[in-house]
């Protein structure tokens, strides 16, 4: 698609304006992380720390065992990521590509799980996992990923699978392929971009999730980064300089992952020579 020069300039300007607006929280976060506590809230705000408090990072990351938090979070995230990508894509295939009676009804029932506010399922869930003896372990946080990885992802993948033309499937059937082969050889490669999106969301969601770890964990040594960030809040006030520094440190890996990932899933796979 080659837009005209005018369209390009207009678009570019729009992009810059929007980005400027969107980048504010991140810039605010970064500059606060390098500031002395007394400077963070001045009105009107100062954008350049005077002086640069690099030691905010050192202090923030050593006051609490962030090294341990990092490792813990990493373990959980990888565990969830693998399970989610694997099982959500098979499930989506089952809901999108295989015709069977009751398929839509079952899908609807699974969707309904997202419609009940978590506040009221929190305690029964907790009690269930506790009864199984998994309180203060990572099981409640990781195991569900291997059972579909969340209906959000299944729904997303289903939508994409539905857009893939059936011609391939039909040709493959004629050749005697099984559903497994169709899944592995046709659908999977064609949906690479969306799978990376799922992986990305899964990574980011788990990285920042604090409610799960809060409810299911009790020992400090198991805590994650998201919980660690919350620890800077005191009874009457928060240690903002350390909180911002720690937040910046926690967000950085996400930014890196995103930068890498977006290249893969957004350079799109064009479906060549399909129609006719």
């Amino acid at each position: 698609m080659r837009p005209s020069k005018l369209a390009l300039t207009a678009g570019y300007t729009a992009l810059i304006l929007i980005s400027a607006l969107f980048v504010i929280p991140f810039v605010w976060l970064l500059r606060s992380s390098l500031m002395d506590l007394s400077q963070i809230f001045t009105m009107p705000p100062e954008w350049i720390p005077k002086p640069f408090h690099w030691d905010n990072f050192r202090r923030a990351l050593t006051t609490l065992p962030f090294g341990t938090f990092f490792t813990n979070t990493f373990v959980i995230v990888i565990g969830v990521l693998v399970g989610t990508v694997a099982t959500s894509s098979i499930a989506a295939f089952g809901f999108a590509r295989i015709p069977w009676r009751g398929r839509e009804a079952v899908f609807a029932v699974l969707m309904s799980g997202m419609m009940l506010p978590a506040a009221v399922t929190m305690i029964p869930s907790f009690l269930g996992w506790k009864a199984l003896g998994f309180y203060d372990t990572y099981y409640p946080l990781i195991v569900p990923a291997y059972f579909g990885g969340g209906i959000f992802n299944i729904f997303l993948l289903r939508q994409f699978y539905l857009t893939i033309p059936r011609d391939f499937d039909e040709a493959a059937f004629v050749d005697g392929a099984t559903y497994f082969q169709i899944y592995a050889r046709i659908i999977l490669p064609l949906s690479r971009s969306v799978l990376i999106v799922v992986a990305l969301f899964s990574f980011l969601g788990t990285w920042n999730d604090f409610m799960g770890p809060l409810i299911y964990l009790k020992s400090d040594r198991l805590f994650t980064l998201a919980l660690g960030l919350q620890m800077f809040q005191g009874t009457y006030s928060a240690q903002w300089d350390l909180l911002m520094a720690a937040s910046a440190a926690v967000v950085l890996p996400c930014v890196v992952v995103f930068l890498i990932g977006q290249r893969y899933f957004l350079e799109g796979i064009t479906l060549t020579g399909l129609k006719g």
Binding site: I123, G128, A131, L214, Q230, M231, Q233, G234, T235, Y236
Partner: protein, 477 residues
């Protein structure tokens, strides 16, 4: 293959569901105590339940919230405690956020700690009303080391007369902060520190007006004053119950009547206090409205950047002020009728489900010890819980002399008021406080914004609020 998988999965599903529902049911079965853990110990269990032999290793669990320095103070207390009792180990569980949600979940799962930090404004009383806590009165009466009077007033929380469910590790009072430089430059006398010399409300308003400056340099006392372009406010007042309760009490009012049966915020004394505060915002224009108040995130920054000349806030702000390097000092609050301060504080409670009540009590005492929290106290965040630290000159000096957080007038402004003119936080004695405030707060929103008078607003919700009134905890019946 799929059929076998299906039946297995159905089986697993049933088990899981059963487990979830059963656990919920066991907890909620009528008449049953706490499911899995040890049967609840008797109240007044001053003798240890289960008869532990001395010297047997014991683990106590304690939950707290708070920033790293607060947790550090608890850890210091615990270290001293463990030194004194080598057979006892304390497992400190720091709940970083959503404390109430987490604790509620723990209680639902029979996973209560032995000692827990509690907040009277949230779930402390719901728990207490279900009899989940020990009556600390029994411990206090039978313990030779500590008496009720050893503690400063108003950090003791009663469920009802004779039943103490929590003790606070340290009080927090309210004071009038001010920026010394602003007063010097304006040539005005700063607020007095002694309660006997406290400003009357009118005197207070006069000074505040002189110190409210618009962008052209006119003060609120000048005729040409422009209230839409204020550069510096005379005073910042918070609009939460902690702040305005001071003035309601000062005027002889209260949240509920003395017998606890009637809603009292629409009574003349309370209404007058609330109206006076709202007038600071809307009539005299000396205080930022709640709208503008969010502009000023913290007292220390507001004073440091000279956005306000004075600020009414809790004692804990001295910590931030000390760090901000502003020349601040404290005075007593202005008085409508009587000098008063409300005392707020958290508390520690002992769950009845504990297997070691005696040891838990010893832990409590260690937590109340000001020496353990000395760093927090000298930083300004906390105040000591023991009366002796206010009356004994040496102990007093330990936490008020030569500290950035304790300017010259601190002793006068704080000590006397706390010991002689303080009132308990309304969350400590008004039953069903939260539900009442759910109704009152929206009405007060209108008052602060100048849309209604205090009398109108409170009268309009009085009936609904009255329906929520359930009595007081400091009177019988």
């Amino acid at each position: 293959m799929s059929r076998r998988r299906k039946s297995l999965s159905v089986l697993l599903a049933l088990v899981m569901m059963l487990a979830a529902v059963l656990s919920a049911c066991t907890k909620s079965d009528s008449g049953q105590g706490g499911g899995n853990s040890a049967p609840p110990a008797d109240s007044a269990g001053s003798e240890s339940a289960g008869g532990d032999k001395p010297g047997e290793p014991i683990t106590l669990r304690m939950t707290v919230w708070g920033a790293p320095e607060e947790v550090a103070a608890y850890k210091t207390a615990i270290a001293k405690f463990e030194n004194k009792y080598p057979n006892i180990k304390v497992n400190l569980q720091h709940i970083p956020t959503d404390y109430d949600t987490k604790l509620t979940t723990m209680v639902a799962g029979n996973d209560e700690p032995d000692v827990a930090q509690m907040e009277s404004a949230s779930i402390a009383y719901p728990l207490a009303e279900q009899g989940k806590f020990y009556n600390l009165q029994d411990f206090l009466s039978s313990d030779p080391e500590i008496k009720q009077d050893d503690l400063v007033p108003n950090i003791t929380y009663w469920l009802e007369p004779g039943n103490i469910i929590g003790l606070g590790p340290g009080p927090e009072t309210f004071v009038l902060y001010y920026n010394e430089d602003i007063f010097k430059d304006a040539g005005l006398t700063p607020p007095p520190a002694k309660a006997s010399e406290a400003w009357t409300w009118d005197q207070f308003v006069e000074v505040a007006k002189k110190l409210t400056i618009d962008s052209k340099g006119r003060s609120a006392a000048d005729p040409g004053f422009d209230p839409k372009n204020i550069k510096q406010y005379g005073v910042s007042i918070g609009t939460w119950w902690g702040n305005y309760s001071n003035f309601i009490y000062s005027n002889g009012g209260d949240f509920v009547s003395a017998d606890g049966k009637k809603f009292a915020l629409n009574e003349p004394a309370a209404v007058e206090a609330l109206q006076k505060m709202a007038d600071l915002i809307n009539v005299h224009h000396v205080a930022p409205s709640p709208v503008q108040a969010k502009n000023i995130p913290a007292t220390n920054i507001a004073l440091q950047t000279k956005k306000v000349a004075m600020a009414i806030d809790g004692q804990w702000a001295t910590a931030g002020l000390a760090q901000s390097k502003v020349h601040f000092n404290v005075g007593v609050l202005p008085v409508i009728k009587e000098p008063t301060t409300t005392v707020v504080s958290g508390m520690f409670s002992i769950f009845k489900s504990t297997k070691h009540p005696k040891e838990a009590w010893e832990l409590m005492k260690a937590l109340l010890d000001p020496d353990a929290a000395i760093d927090l106290i000298t930083a300004g965040t906390w105040m000591p819980a023991y009366r002796s630290w206010y009356t004994d000159p040496d102990l007093l000096a330990k936490w008020t002399e030569n500290l950035d957080s304790r300017p010259s007038n601190y002793k006068d402004a704080v000590v006397d008021v706390l010991l002689n003119h303080s009132r308990q936080t309304p969350t400590g004695y008004v039953k069903n406080f939260n539900k009442i405030m759910d109704i009152v707060n929206p009405a007060l929103d209108k008052v602060w914004l100048g849309q209604q008078t205090a009398q109108e607003a409170l009268d309009s919700v009085a009936a609904k609020a009255q329906a929520q009134v359930q009595g007081r905890r400091d009177v019988e019946g």
